[in-house]
Amino acid sequence: MPRIVQARGLPCPQPVLLTKKAMQEADDILTIVDGPDQAENVARMARQAGWQVEVDGKEEAVYVRITRPQRLPQGQKEEPGPPAGPLVLVVPGETMGRGESTELGQVLIRSFFHTLLETERRPDVIVFYNTGVRLVVEGSPILEDLRALSEQGVQILACGTCLGYFDLKDRVAVGTVSNMYTISETLLGAGRVVSL
């Protein structure tokens, strides 16, 4: 059950501040606000902090559900094994690996994401940047796999600057449009970073 932050009837910045306070104590929060302006500020702040965000606008109120990205349980930090902090997968291009054949690189990346769905170990966050952002827009060859991963709780971040550069902002089909602040926080705060 999420922690409820009842912020209806409160103007900005109260919803943001109340949500921030709750984020110190809970991992799963539902902030209820009057309208899209307040919801947008809450969602932006949570995304900045690296949380997963879902906004559900209803007639009577807007519901912003935010969840802390999955981390390993605290006790495990001391033990040998995988380092604490999320496993971050970085996708800096449309292809997997570099080589003479773009076609091969495309086959490989399709195969990689398909395989990822079948394996047990999943990344917590996948970050797409540079030409990699072409994989999160309409027409991407791995869109279905990414949607499935997203539904399973894998956070998908796409570099907003890159989407803007390729003029793809309106065509994002999966994941969250993010900024360099969040991306750098995600990379630096990661337990492990795996780059394709």
Binding site: P11, P13, V16, D37, N41, Q48, G160, T161, N179, Y181
Partner: protein
């Protein structure tokens, strides 16, 4: 309203509804035109005297944005019945002192009862009919000059949320209290092509009005824009007032941002200002003169962009 009062029927109305500038200007003779404006709002700082002074500075700013001087002012007040008398008096004293500083005279006003306090001024100023500064004169090749830093709206919003640093609030208050009088006088003496003040529609909203009325394109350089201390930090925490979203929704289609400008930086430039500075469009060859004259008068001025052919705004 534009249909009801057509400009053609009022030849002495030099600036009215159809040009939607900072204030109305009405010619009474070849030498004198009257500037008329009003503004009032709810408290944005805790101290009543400071609130009164800020509200007055903000209301009079429209006269300066038209290139004029303040002559007369009237109080506009709404106070709850249970507001202590000394609070009311402090608000009015703050306003009166500001009008006096502006060289004007406060001649009365009107008060009604209201749950939430409100204060401001109706202001009358004078300007020479041929020396009116409007939003409509910017020309390609001009430089854009801003006379106060941005960020008041973020800091007052953080203050409402009780999370603002006192030092940040102090700097914002100082900025709001400063009259645009000297800046407007210098602008008149140096000669500028367009002028407006930055208030509720934020830099990009008021900037767009200049672009639209002058039929030009404005380019702002993000790195050149002065920010009050703390403003960027509050923006990164998304402590935006509702007005930021409304301005963004209203003006976004007219503004192009370079791809590296973050959402928070964009929102900052859409955040309403209170008693903000003047935005001047100045012939490029007067750049050095303007900067040295402002420095000599101890008035800040930042070159923040330039005017291009085209329309809308770009931020790089």
């Amino acid at each position: 309203m534009r249909d009801r009062f057509r400009a053609a029927d009022f030849p002495d109305l030099l600036v009215g509804l159809e040009t939607s500038d900072d204030a109305a200007v009405y010619r009474v003779s070849d030498e004198v035109a009257v500037i008329q404006t009003l503004d009032f709002f709810t408290p944005i700082v805790d101290d009543p005297y400071t609130f009164g002074a800020v509200a007055a500075a903000n209301a009079m700013s429209d006269v300066y944005a038209m290139g004029g001087e303040v002559v007369l002012a009237l109080n506009i007040c709404a106070f709850p019945t249970d507001l202590p008398l000394e609070v009311t008096q402090a608000i009015l004293r703050g306003g009166a002192d500001k009008v006096a500083e502006a060289g004007g005279v406060l001649v009365g006003g009107h008060t009604i009862e209201d749950k939430e306090p409100k204060y401001g001024l109706a202001v009358m100023g004078f300007v020479h009919p041929r020396r009116i500064l409007t939003k409509a004169g910017a020309r390609p090749g001009d430089i854009l000059v801003l006379t106060k830093p941005l960020g008041v709206g973020l800091i007052t919003t953080a203050l409402k949320g009780q999370v603002a640093e006192p030092a940040h609030v102090a700097a914002a208050v100082e900025s709001m209290l400063r009259l645009n009088r000297t800046a407007a006088r210098l602008a008149q003496e140096i000669g500028v092509n367009a002028c407006t003040d930055i208030t509720g529609f934020a830099l990009l909203g008021h900037g767009y009005e200049v672009a639209e009325k002058s039929d030009v394109r404005l380019r702002f350089h993000l790195e050149a824009l002065p920010l009050l201390p703390g403003a960027r930090g509050y923006a990164e925490e998304s402590l935006f007032p509702g007005g930021s979203c409304r301005n963004r929704d209203a003006y976004r289609k007219h503004v192009e941002f370079a791809p590296y400008i973050t959402e928070e930086e964009q929102m900052l430039l859409f955040t309403p200002e209170t008693s903000g500075g003047l935005l001047l469009s100045v012939p490029a060859e007067r750049r050095e003169e303007l900067l040295s004259r402002f420095t000599a008068s101890d008035e800040p001025a930042w070159v923040v962009g330039e005017v291009l052919k085209g329309n809308g705004i770009e931020v790089v």
